[in-house]
Symmetry: C2
């Protein structure tokens, strides 16, 4: 299988590095570093200990290979590595890098260290960095590449091709960005269209005029949505005068999509949103997870008090206690289903504004269907098992399962909808919140129903 | 905000279509269809009812716009639309489409309908489709585009550029694929490199030789991993002789990444893996979710039996019943945290083969830290609240929280690890399985601990 092969290559590389590191074989290490793809190097770097990381990094030259390696590295490792590095080396490394890479690396440094590095760069670079660092985190502005090549619409295709040949700097050129006399973006043309058109034709006659562009303050998730929906290779970022500020390229969008999905996963489970939690120590890891569990602790204490209030009923029919786990468990699980479907639907744009009511009512229907079904199933089972007890026990259990599942679908659907309305990420801690509220409400209605039917 | 703007555009379009549909304004509808981006049309199509969908589709021409629209449509809608369409129209629509689009659409049809369509295509097309449909679903072979342009390595850059101009068919050319005398892939060159090099230079001298390629049977997730890691715009798919079969382009990879994330989300929550669950009726939706809830139902019944066995203890100390929800709730939530971190870590390649033990032991450490902390907190609270009862109650509650959380991290971490070892998607129903096992085991150890300490 290719899968194993690809994973194996990384493993072999990891082992080879490990062997050379243990032998302190500097010459061979340097050779291996230069031969390894920077993205691969960034992956296996996770497995080195602190000393090994520093040892390898010190053997690396101040070139593009090292820069690309740093860009691919996890934030946690970048911090560790660069905060103790001489500012001169960092400045040297990033001085000719694209602005978005510069600001990304500087953003990972401690403010003091970042300042020392910035002070070593020339005025022009400093201004570029300041501008891009002024945009909000996770915005199109922060991730755009500013080395873009624009060309006037009255240029001929032949001239455009010739001009392009001298644009060594422009990153990943897929499209030509075409401007009018006011320097506003009016269209794009693919490199391919350019190459297959008669050289005398004007750009204005071949360009595509309907192009989705974004503002620098547009959230990266929306940029990703546009790229995914229209199969773009790059989205232009323009200011209010429609002047081109930069482009966001698809390779960065791929990273955004993966990162946003990871963050949503973690947030839903109540683990914060730090994608690098696997790199943290057990203490740090526990610290990140602690607050989210506190909510579930509070919910559990509330449930305990509620059950305490109904203690006299359990005294009469001990069997009531036995069904607590299944009643809250079924609720928790169907509630998690509901919230997951809705959180993901919102993230992928499948649930649009205005759909909320439809989605909620469908969830309630599903909750009712499954609640009745599983309620009947458990009610009958309860009555068969505890024939000697109150004959209403089955009814109570059945109704309670049904109510718990109905409540859970409602909470599971409403929570992300409300969070979204409040402009909060709908994934935040939805999971623990839904299961915990279901615990509390499920138990409460269970005993309320029991009180009503069993006359205790 | 741009975000609202982008969403608003879709809403306005939706309303305009709605209005025209109600008025049966065919001419205006046709105009609007032609003016709308096929990807946008596919999005708003979700909001039309069956009749409206058919009405709009019948107004569409048999052109590329319609083809692109179909490709962007949800599978459920494609099925509904095309299974009742004349095979002639479908054949007409797809006859000049790229092979992967053809096989994608045919794959959505009922076998009989698909056969009728295939029979109408010419021999050559039929063979192409047969080949690509022979590859496993979700493989590189199934998603590759076969209209790729290869060129011999001894060609000059100037000749290559000229040849390229006549390749109207080749989709999204970013790279030239360069072959040797045996037709094996030996390197690639970007269109940009070609344009900026002296026309007399040979391709072999400018090409990049180290390129990751995949096999047609490679899973799409691995293809996505490679594209994401190396920032590729396309990955070549080669056979065992290293001959180029096709390329997988980044736009399709973007879709794969989003789809795989959605599937993982849904699977983890125990909702199957149908991304289009939002389009299903409440009945179908309930049917999909029913079996996963059954597992949790069984677990609940088991928990009820366990509690039944320990009934005599509850009879003596009713307060024991009150703490059932918090003990299984805390376990369920920390277990979900563990499994989410690990499932996502595996999906993004952060957890490699061989890391399992390290990951498991870290989760156990975290479970212990948080278990001791929350156990202490609840134990003290229980002792203060129920001072009049058995003084060991606090100890029992504290130890039970701790054991439940420890068990949950173990189950939460082990479940995806074992699934992966068995070559099953580690996301499958991990959520419900973890919470349900925690319910059962948590309750069992709770009463065991109580029995030990309280001498009931």
């Amino acid at each position: 299988m290719r899968k194993e092969l690809f994973k194996n290559e990384i493993n072999i590389l990891k082992d080879t590095f490990g062997r050379l590191l243990r032998r302190h074989a500097k010459t061979n290490l340097t050779k291996l570093i230069n031969k390894t793809h920077p993205a691969d190097l960034a992956v296996i770097f996770r497995y080195f200990n602190d000393e090994e990381q520093i040892q390898v990094f010190n053997l690396m030259k101040n070139d593009n290979h090292t820069l690309e390696f740093l860009i691919n590295l996890d934030d946690t490792i970048i911090e560790k590595l660069l905060n103790i590095e001489h500012p001169e080396r960092i400045a040297n490394l990033i001085q000719n890098a694209p602005t978005n890479d510069q600001s990304f690396l500087l953003g990972a440094l401690e403010p003091k260290q970042a300042k020392s590095v910035i002070d070593l760069l020339n005025k022009e670079e400093q201004e570029g960095i300041e501008e891009i660092m002024g945009y909000p985190e996770d915005s199109a502005g922060a991730m755009m590449s500013t080395d873009v090549f624009t060309i006037y619409q009255e240029t001929t295709c032949g001239d455009a091709l010739r001009t392009l040949q001298y644009q060594k700097d422009a990153e990943m050129v897929f499209y030509l960005y075409i401007t009018n006399e006011d320097d506003a973006l009016v269209g794009i043309a693919s490199l391919r269209a350019l190459a297959t058109t008669h050289p005398d034709k004007l750009l204005r006659d071949i360009m595509i005029k309907r192009v989705h562009s974004v503002r620098p303050e547009t959230d990266q998730e929306d940029v990703a949505q546009i790229v995914a929906q229209y199969n773009y290779l790059a989205v232009p970022v323009v200011d209010t005068d429609n002047q081109l500020l930069g482009i966001v390229t698809v390779d960065d969008v791929v990273d955004v999509i993966r990162e946003e999905a990871s963050e949503d996963f973690l947030q839903m489970a109540g683990v914060g949103k730090d994608r690098e939690i696997l790199l943290k120590s057990s203490w740090e890891n526990a610290k990140i997870r602690l607050p989210w569990l506190f909510a579930s602790w509070i919910g559990g204490v509330m449930a305990a008090y509620i059950i305490g209030v109904f203690e006299h009923m359990i005294e009469n029919i001990i069997a009531l206690a036995s069904f607590i786990p299944v009643i809250i468990g079924m609720g928790g699980n169907i509630g998690t289903q509901s919230s997951t479907i809705i959180v993901r639907g919102m993230a992928t744009g499948r649930i649009a504004i205005g759909d909320e009511f439809k989605v909620l009512s469908k969830e309630l229907q599903v909750g009712l269907i499954l609640g009745v079904l599983y309620g009947l199933l458990l009610g009958i089972l309860a009555n068969i098992t505890f024939l000697n007890l109150d004959s209403m026990l089955g009814v109570v259990i059945g109704l309670s399962i049904c109510s718990s599942m109905l409540i859970a679908t409602a909470v599971g659907a409403l929570t992300p909808i409300l969070l979204k309305k409040l402009d909060v990420d709908p994934a935040i801690a939805t999971g623990p919140f839904v299961t915990t509220s279901t615990d509390v409400l499920g138990v409460f209605f269970y005993f309320l129903i029991a009180e009503w039917f069993m006359d205790l």
